[in-house]
Symmetry: C2
Subunit: 216 residues, 2 copies
């Protein structure tokens, strides 16, 4: 059975290329496996049926002949388990990749999210102006750790893996903020990941779906 | 080789029993495996050596005869791969458990963390009073999803797993806030997890280490 993923029917231009199904499309593109997309809207996201598949009402959800899954990180790890393109097959190497996938999602993304939530949605509110330096300082501590890690290597481990895939999709969200200029090895790492053909094919596929479903 | 984990040498009483090495101790207690603790302080956390083990300078880090790891979620999944106590052995069942571990860390914990950061560290600051309702609303959306999920089951899947372990450790952090009163199935789930002997042994072990190293 061809894997099925869910994606949003349409989002405004600033979010196109950044919705999280991109992570799963990218992982599948790295492995060369075809997949099918099921487009969803807000009514579907809130439905009982969809919630029994994705309990939080988000995208992506995923299904193949073996398993039904949610959480982009878990889906990418599941795909990685079936392809050496995304992780070493030995259990120790695979565990290291899992550590970086989870580091992206728990040690970096929450702090990215706090900064971009302010910049994108609350920039003019007085409370956000007071909170912004605190949120930025928290994020900078994590970026500095990544800068140290990446100072003398191309990828987080000794080869491209699902860990780099997840970390780079998290870092993309603050590309426009200019913050990465202070972390040149992180910035170079991001460029390295974004230059992969599979990354670009996944972006193009997501944007193509939005183009085909643009509101009148 | 007996697994080794790192833990903080001492923290103030309000944090005792809540430091993240508890998650790994709990997982190991569920499997019945002995482990050794390496206590660390801030000088060690910032050292080059420790950072090459745990890039963000946090606890826990983990090592066994097979692998060196960081990120509590990745460590718990690694332990779960070697014991049916924490996850089914079939790949599909294991992937479902991974989804819940990652949901705890990415779909719930960041919103818990924002609320408790306000309550514990910024409660009296005017910006925090404006931000608190926004952060609480974000968290409540996730708690409502968990309430739906747990309304008719004891655990997130059909048996206790590493997913329940991670989710309950995340939820514990807001127990004192009173928020869980509005989500009775979540609250009952938390009590169910906390009543496990392995949970309690892990708490006792963490607190015992603090007691043995209390500042003069």
């Amino acid at each position: 059975m061809i894997p099925v993923i869910t994606a949003l029917r349409w989002v405004p231009p600033f979010a196109q290329g950044y919705v999280r199904d991109h992570r799963v499309r990218w992982a599948l593109e790295e492995t060369g496996r075809p997949y099918r997309v099921e487009l969803v809207d807000h009514a579907i996201l809130d439905s009982r049926d969809y919630r029994s598949w994705q309990p939080f009402g988000h995208v992506p959800a995923y299904r193949d002949g073996e398993v039904e899954l949610f959480e982009s990180g878990a889906i990418v790890l599941h795909i990685a388990r079936t392809s050496e393109m995304l992780a070493p097959v030995d259990p120790a190497g695979f565990a290291r990749v899992s550590a970086w996938v989870i580091a992206a999602l728990n040690s970096v993304e929450p702090f990215v999210r706090n900064v971009i939530a302010i910049d994108d949605f609350h920039a003019s509110e007085p409370w956000a102006q007071s909170y912004r330096p605190i949120a930025e300082a928290e994020l900078r501590r994590r970026l500095a750790a990544l800068q140290d890690r990446l100072a003398d290597r191309d990828f987080l481990e000794d080869r491209f893996s699902a860990g780099d895939l997840m970390m780079s999709t998290v870092l993309r969200d603050i590309e426009a903020s200019g913050l990465l200029r202070d972390y040149p090895a992180v910035s170079a790492f991001l460029t390295r990941c974004e230059s992969r053909l599979a990354f670009q094919r996944a972006i193009a596929a997501q944007i193509e779906d939005f183009r085909n479903n643009a509101p009148a």
